[in-house]
């Protein structure tokens, strides 16, 4: 019994740590609550919001289904093309960066620097990239592709790095025992492991890029984003409604397909 009691007293006391963390979290929460303000909520602002909702649920069907270059369907197609190509560009850029950032492959300082670079890359707002690429390619979907590409790098590289760091190195051991050289180990031991994860991550990012298409609108880089923002700015919420319907339906379809594909890639 004394043993049991001894152990009881020996129980690690991290109450103080937990308490400190809790206090900090609560303090942060209270502090951030300072931004809460309902002063502008009044009847007429609610009415405007109501009008917006009304517009959103009475979408402009004509815009949705006609077949000109202004139609939602055409623009969605353009958006898919931008997101698709942008994802590929992003993936191509991310692979070398990911290997350079993986701490189990390169020396510590290199991986630290690459990680810093990745933070910088993903912190520069898409808007700024948009302007940079407009200088390269002019205001066109091409600029959109490049913008999507570079904004994908942050996340893609991060997830690639995770995959690289999780490599099952036991396989390499067995390949050593077969008598394989380093190159052969990479080609037959690492690549097959990474390929499916990389593809799965890339498909996921494609899915996200479709969602971010609205941001592209801000930078004048083609796709459905710009018309949506224009419509929002000039208060044509029924148009926004029809664009959103198109976008949401498309995204749901893509999400469904991409989930299926990813499940197959990862689970086989």
């Amino acid at each position: 019994m004394t043993n049991v009691e001894k152990q009881l007293f020996a129980s690690p006391r991290n109450h103080r740590y937990i308490l400190t963390v809790t206090v900090i979290v609560v303090a942060l929460f209270v502090w951030s609550c300072l931004v809460v303000s309902f002063k502008d909520v009044n009847e007429s602002s609610l009415k405007i919001a109501g009008n917006i909702m009304k517009g959103l649920i009475h979408p402009d069907m004509d815009l949705l289904f006609n077949v000109t270059k202004q139609s939602v369907l055409y623009l969605l197609l353009e958006t898919i093309a931008i997101a698709f190509l942008g994802t590929i560009v992003g993936a191509v850029l991310s692979v070398p960066l990911a290997f350079l950032a993986a701490s189990n492959i390169v020396p510590k300082p290199v991986s630290w620097l690459t990680r810093l670079l990745l933070i910088v890359i993903r912190t520069i707002p898409a808007l700024v990239y948009g302007l940079m690429f407009i200088r390269v390619s002019g205001p066109s979907p091409f600029a959109g592709v490049l913008t999507i590409g570079i904004t994908s790098v942050g996340m893609l590289a991060k997830l690639y790095v995770d995959a690289i760091e999780e490599l099952d190195t036991k396989v390499l051991e067995s390949m050593t025992s077969i008598g394989c050289s380093t190159f052969e180990k990479i080609r037959y031991g690492i690549l097959p492991q990474l390929l499916s994860v990389f593809m799965s991550v890339t498909i996921y990012r494609f899915d996200m890029n479709m969602r971010e298409a609205s941001i592209l609108g801000l930078v004048g880089a083609g796709g459905i984003g710009a018309p949506m923002i224009f419509a929002m700015n000039s208060y044509r919420w029924n148009e926004v409604g029809s664009i959103l319907i198109g976008l949401v339906v498309l995204i749901l379809i893509i999400e469904f397909v991409s989930n299926k594909l990813r499940a197959r890639l990862v689970k086989g």
Binding site: S44, I48, N51, R135, P139, V219, P227, A231
Partner: protein, 344 residues
């Protein structure tokens, strides 16, 4: 227009510009070939309107330029989502021609040359006295051409807004405290009528700027400014002089007001004249020889004279064009310098 094919032949032919190339192998007196001419518009009006309305401009421009001795294969038009996008494109040479406001031209004049200034219909009001704008309403366009427009400071239907409006209409002067106690909706700080000129106005009258006001928020668009004015979120907004004309209907439908916009809003301040929009060309574009610029000037002025052309440029409320030069915008430059110095 003058025809200088012989001279023009030399420069555009060795063009390496990716966006356009003029291929005319020998310096023949025949017409210059231009593959593609890119024109960018700023989204100062509803971009959708701009795109549909400017569609005929493509052919008009092709035909006019043909008479000037330039064969253009394709004219492409796009509306930038932001002013900066068009500005950067001009300064990098990824677009050839930009219809941009004077302010934007001044910011990007390292890469852009102004060739024309738009003229537009003067308004029925052009007084510097806000009370006169309120008496003489609604504001209508006139036949007169003007190379400038004004910015207005407008008070809305909220209690505060009405109070300010009443003071003006009674001939009283507004004090700084009056203005400081109102909620202001302004545009981003590089907007001429939405920020720069109102700042100059405040500076002149009260030796203070917009940034000194207590309750200012930056609106994403004029439409949203008006919506907030209607909702009472804002007491005061700043806008170009014919701004209210663009929201007459929405005021009663979408923004849910019953009385007319003219009755519910009052002008409480009028800024100095702001130089109209420009047609600027990119310095980096390989197409832009002096001769071609001249041809463009002539072409646009000629188009503005035609019935079809008038309709096109009406989206921007332009009615005609006058040749312009960089020095015309020195006032704007000073205004910007001043604003920048405030920003430090």
């Amino acid at each position: 227009g003058s025809k200088n094919e012989n001279n023009a032949a030399s420069s555009p032919s060795d063009s390496a510009s990716p966006s356009a190339s003029a291929a005319s192998p020998s310096a023949s007196p025949a017409a210059q070939e231009i593959k593609e001419l890119k024109i960018s518009f700023v989204p100062s009006k509803d971009p959708e309107q701009i795109i549909t309305a400017t569609e005929p401009l493509k052919d008009l421009l092709k035909n006019q330029l043909a008479t000037e001795g330039y064969n253009v294969d394709k004219v492409s038009i796009d509306v930038g989502t932001t002013y900066e996008a068009v500005g950067e494109a001009l300064s990098a040479g990824t677009t050839d021609i930009g219809l941009i406001p004077g302010g934007t031209y001044v910011l990007y004049d390292d890469g852009a040359d102004v060739i024309l200034t738009a003229t537009r219909a003067g308004l029925s009001n052009d007084s510097e006295d806000p009370a006169l704008w309120n008496k003489n309403k609604p504001t209508e366009p006139t036949e007169q051409q003007a190379t400038y427009y004004r910015g207005l400071i407008i008070a809305g239907p909220s209690a505060k807004g009405q109070e300010l409006g009443a003071k003006i209409n009674n001939g009283e002067e507004l004090t700084w405290d009056d203005l400081n106690s109102a909620n202001w909706a302004v545009m981003s700080s590089s907007s001429s009528s939405g920020y720069i000129y109102p700042t100059l106005w405040l500076q002149e009258k009260y030796q203070k700027g917009i940034s000194d006001l207590k309750n200012v928020f930056t609106s994403d668009s004029y439409g949203s400014s008006f919506a907030r004015l209607a909702a009472g979120q804002a007491d005061v907004l700043v806008v170009y002089a014919d701004g209210r004309r663009d929201y007459v209907e929405k005021w009663n439908t979408d923004f849910g007001r019953t009385a007319s916009i003219w009755d519910e809003t009052n002008v409480i301040g009028v800024t100095d004249g702001i130089y109209n929009d420009t047609i600027s060309v990119s310095k980096k574009s390989k197409l832009m020889t002096d001769e071609f610029k001249k041809a463009l000037q002539d072409a646009f002025m000629a188009i503005a004279q035609t019935e079809e052309g008038k309709q096109v440029i009406a989206v921007y409320s332009h009615e005609g064009y006058q040749p312009a030069q960089s020095s015309d915008y020195d006032a704007e430059r000073q205004a910007q310098e001043f604003l920048k110095s405030l920003k430090q």
